[in-house]
């Protein structure tokens, strides 16, 4: 499929090459030759192919459920104009803009993305994107290690569990120690012991997320920031829900020298986990340590302003094993989607969307907690997620299963990462969560409690 060759083309081309056959061109030594056919079904004409693949899409019943799932991947409204522009073939089918003279459009879009990330995080510089929020964190930690020469990092247990898992995977490769800062009774990072732990200057970085994994808006206070500063530790701020930056204080304002995170929320679909778009921003003293592509503005030989990939001496194709990272491909197209989204919604739209997230999530929490047996696990203010403690007699698993029977995805049970939070569900609401969705959820939760009370052995 997709090759234009006619039989006579192939004959004519083989004649020019002086080869008797296609088979002759691809022949390999007998010892390594392919034996037997591939286990791949015969090719399908497009009309049948479309129907086949559509059949798989239809077997994902979850998309028809009323959903309160968040936990690092968020359902948001994306104005149709965003995909209509991003899916233009010029953007979709370009490669990394190595030939700047014919890639000015994409280079400018990346420069605009870098600027948006700086404006949202309050930091000086940003790269062209990395794979996702978790890998952005791992790369950010490596920046701190390279900046300080220290071989350990300290990460809050309230950082997204998957991000911490990726950090540990990367750390294993580089033989870095990863230690954790505990969470207090309010769902916030416990900084009380921080000064003592940093005293021996062993840690390259302290890594804190806000809003944290529990949805809590939770930034280091002045004492914690002073301890970080005075020990020469790099402060890394994680933002797993970029939508929050529409209203919340910038990571720079709470002391982050490096901000990393996930911008999926800006126009990129959930898509069962990817592709998403990680970002890294930093103060300018980290400029030559930032991984991945950077676009800069310079001048051309006619005296015009022009964009180009720059500071490539950091990168793998120049420095090979001495590069700041091995990253080559990034998430350019996802970053483009985010850039167009931000251009379309602007300050006014982003602020309104973010406030709606606050409004709907607070409404969700209030309504759910009005039901007997349900309460908030933590009192700290939240952005668009909240931890709900369910009746202990039911447990999170049973509540979620009962909700599912009513076509509701009630959230994410926390016990798989936090055994102490066995009765807790992380629930998300965004601007797409309607008051009717909350009605449906609350009716179901009430129903579940009453059914459980009447018949404790109800089958789930």
């Amino acid at each position: 499929m997709y090759s234009p060759h006619t039989d006579s083309d192939i004959e004519a081309m083989l004649a020019v090459i002086g080869s008797p056959s296609l088979e002759d061109l691809v022949r390999v030594p007998d010892a390594v030759a392919l034996r037997g056919p591939l286990e791949v079904p015969p090719g399908l004409p497009e009309i049948e192919l479309g129907a086949k693949i559509a059949g798989y899409a239809k077997r994902n019943a979850a998309v028809g459920y009323t959903s309160f799932l968040g936990a690092g991947a968020y359902r948001h409204y994306c104005p149709p104009v965003v995909m209509s522009l991003a899916m233009r073939g010029e953007f979709l089918t370009a490669y990394t803009p190595y030939q700047a003279e014919v890639s000015q459009g994409y280079l400018q879009a990346i420069y605009e993305w870098q600027t948006y990330v700086c404006l949202l995080t309050g930091l000086d510089i940003a790269n062209a994107s990395v794979y996702d929020g978790a890998t952005a964190l791992a790369e950010g930690a490596i920046m701190a290690v390279n900046a300080t020469g220290r071989r350990a990092v300290l990460v809050s247990s309230a950082v997204h569990p998957n991000y911490r898992a990726v950090l540990r995977t990367y750390a294993r490769g580089l033989d870095l120690d990863v230690e954790e800062l505990p969470v207090d009774a309010n769902g916030a990072t416990d900084f009380s012991n921080l000064e003592a732990r940093l005293a021996d200057k062993r840690f390259a970085a302290v890594i804190v997320q806000s809003p944290n994994f529990f949805g809590c808006i939770n930034t280091p206070g002045e004492a914690a920031r002073a301890a970080v500063r005075s020990t020469g530790t790099v402060s890394i701020g994680v933002v797993a829900e970029a939508m929050s930056l529409g209203v919340l204080a910038t990571p720079a304002s709470w002391g982050a020298q490096i901000a990393v995170g996930e911008a999926q929320s800006f126009g990129n679909p959930l898509a069962y986990g990817g592709p998403y778009v990680g970002f890294i921003a930093a103060t300018k003293d980290h400029m030559r340590r930032i991984p991945g592509r950077l676009v800069g503005r310079s001048l051309d030989n006619r005296g015009n302003e022009a964009f180009t990939l720059t500071l490539q001496a950091r990168e793998q194709h120049i420095r090979r094993e001495k590069a700041t990272s091995n990253i080559c491909t990034n998430q350019a197209h996802c970053a483009l989607v985010a850039t167009i989204y931000l251009a379309a919604v602007g300050e006014t739209g982003l602020r309104r969307a973010a406030v709606l997230n606050l409004e709907r999530t607070n409404a969700l929490a209030e309504r759910v907690c009005a039901i007997d047996g349900y309460s908030r696990a933590f009192s700290t203010p939240v952005f668009n997620e909240v931890v709900i403690r369910v009746p202990a007699a039911l447990g999170a698993g049973r509540v979620l299963a009962e909700l599912e029977r009513r076509s509701i995805l009630g959230g994410v049970a926390l016990d798989r990462w936090y055994p102490d939070l066995g009765d807790c569900i992380l629930m998300n609401a965004t601007e797409l969560t309607t008051p009717e969705d909350i009605d449906v959820l609350c009716a179901a939760l009430r129903d579940i409690v009453s059914v459980a009370t009447e018949s404790p052995a109800v089958h789930v």
Binding site: G43, A73, T96, Y106, A249, E431
Partner: protein, 486 residues
């Protein structure tokens, strides 16, 4: 003509009506936790449409012209793939959806994994890594975990990388703490068995190779090389960037490779999107399966699919969520469009196109290593430079003037003034003839009037860019006041 930055357009309050005007943030969050300003521009939707449409028009892409960028496999990106990935059943599926409500998505991942394993002769693949370099890192972490489990972790410290390898290979090795031993190619442009035998030993962890290599040459001693590395206790790694050359005709697994990655955005027709997102599955031989990153997709006896998040020996996980799933949909669509025989034909025609261009180009530009190539080949402008002053870079820029994207230049490093050309199978004979004619005309012009080529490009909207200035006076973002730049 320059396009204003989005930040230099619009007016505060020029809002589009996407969202209702709700309550105030400080009703929910203490003022101290809120940002002071949100300095983003407000633009009308029409101005946004025009801005990004104009930017798109200033961007070369496969859709606008021939893109023979070596080692990047810039083949046509079928639009059925996009339509399939954009279906609500895939697009709106949350990664934490329960397995039994995401069976279609898990089946896509499972069937893609099985198909890749069969096509490349591996025991299993993981769809976890996001791109090629990410997959290399994953594979080396697998190797490291494997040797640690065998009690050889401390001893095996070296990764062997030929000088023709992609830059990501040594950079990935460094991220796993390995020493990189760079191996010189022989005068046939290949890794020689003798050279391998001279360096392998008890310290060898992994030998990373691509086959065909970046000169477009098949490593014809590969089975003996693999045997030598295995005899020393090391593992063989296959960099799948060039898999389009052998898909359906030969398998890395049969050549003795223990680990490999694929760039689905190269071989399997996923759009590159201006530099990502990619998708870089990692394949392994049977002894390494337990070390694959989690989650893995399993199929139970009842035919139900599951995401398995635990694995005692697993290296961990490499990313926030399971895979670049939308790309898995595109790749599976492409595989089912082609079928096994179709994929075999893809690589044959890719090799045909490369050899056809090579046969015509060698009449006017030397092509080192005078033998049939695979999916790509290199030509050298070294003689031309000596005679006329026109370099590979100048030829690249002159091609831009003639409506073609440039080949990869100055890579691999061992060929001076290198032009690395990969046409792919989706280009017609007419397109290839046009490209060769343009290249021939450039070389002829270089001999008659070199300045005309040295001045290129002249038809593009900007001329050659001052890279030194870009690096010495970094301007990496817009600021309201240009003077405040460092």
């Amino acid at each position: 003509m320059s396009e204003k930055l989005i930040f230099e357009m619009g007016r505060p309050g020029r809002a589009n009506g996407y969202f209702p005007n709700g309550r105030m943030a400080d009703e929910f969050v203490p003022q101290a936790a809120l940002r002071d300003t949100l300095p983003l521009p407000d633009n009308s939707e029409l101005d946004v449409v025009r801005h990004f449409t104009r930017l798109s028009q200033k961007t070369f892409a496969i859709d606008t012209g021939f893109y023979p960028l070596g080692s990047c496999t810039m083949k046509y990106n079928p639009r059925i793939n996009e339509a399939m990935a954009a279906q609500p059943g895939f697009k709106d599926l949350h990664p934490f959806a329960p397995d039994h409500l995401a069976q279609g998505a898990l089946q896509v991942m499972y069937e893609l994994e099985r198909a890749l394993s069969s096509i490349f002769g591996m025991a299993a693949f993981s769809l976890n890594p996001a791109a090629g370099a990410h997959a290399e890192l994953t594979a080396l972490l697998i190797a490291k975990a494997y040797f640690e489990k065998k009690g050889e972790g401390k001893q095996r410290t070296t990764v062997i990388v030929p000088d023709t390898a992609h830059g990501t290979n040594p950079a990935s090795a460094a991220m796993v703490g390995y020493k990189v031993l760079s191996l010189k190619s022989d005068d046939r442009g290949r890794v020689s068995l003798d050279a391998i035998k001279a360096v392998v030993g008890a310290d060898t962890a992994v030998c990373m190779m691509t086959n065909p290599n970046t000169l477009g040459l098949f490593e014809d001693q590969i089975d003996a090389i693999a045997a030598a590395v295995h005899a020393a206790g090391g593992l063989m790694y296959y960099d799948g960037a060039n898999a389009n050359a052998l898909m359906g005709n030969a398998r890395p697994g049969d050549m003795g490779f223990d680990l490999m990655h694929l760039n689905l955005h190269k071989t399997f027709s996923i759009p590159h999107g201006g530099g990502g997102a990619g998708h870089g599955p990692v394949g392994v031989a049977a002894p390494l399966v337990p070390f694959l990153p989690v989650p893995v997709v399993t199929r139970d006896a009842g035919g139900a699919y599951h995401l398995q998040h635990d694995g005692e020996d697993a290296i961990g996980t490499m990313r926030s969520f399971w895979s670049n799933f939308a790309h898995a949909v595109r790749a599976l669509t492409y595989i089912y469009a082609n079928g096994g025989d179709g994929l075999t034909r893809v690589s044959k025609l890719a090799v045909l196109n490369a050899n056809y261009v090579r046969a015509l180009v060698k009449e006017f530009l030397p092509t080192p290593y005078d033998e049939a190539c695979r999916h790509e080949f290199v030509a050298s402008a070294a003689d031309l430079k000596r005679e006329t002053g026109v370099k590979a870079l100048d030829i690249a820029k002159a091609l831009l003037d003639r409506g073609y994207h440039a080949p990869t230049i100055y890579f691999p490093l061992l060929v001076p003034e290198c032009l690395m050309i990969e046409p792919t199978e989706t280009e017609s004979k007419e397109t290839l003839d046009g490209f060769v004619a343009a290249l021939r005309e450039i070389v002829e012009t270089a001999r008659e009037n070199p300045q005309a080529i040295l001045d290129a490009p002249v038809t593009t909207i900007v001329g050659r860019i001052d890279e030194t200035r870009a690096a010495r006076q970094p301007d990496l973002r817009w600021v309201p006041d240009r003077e405040s730049l460092v």
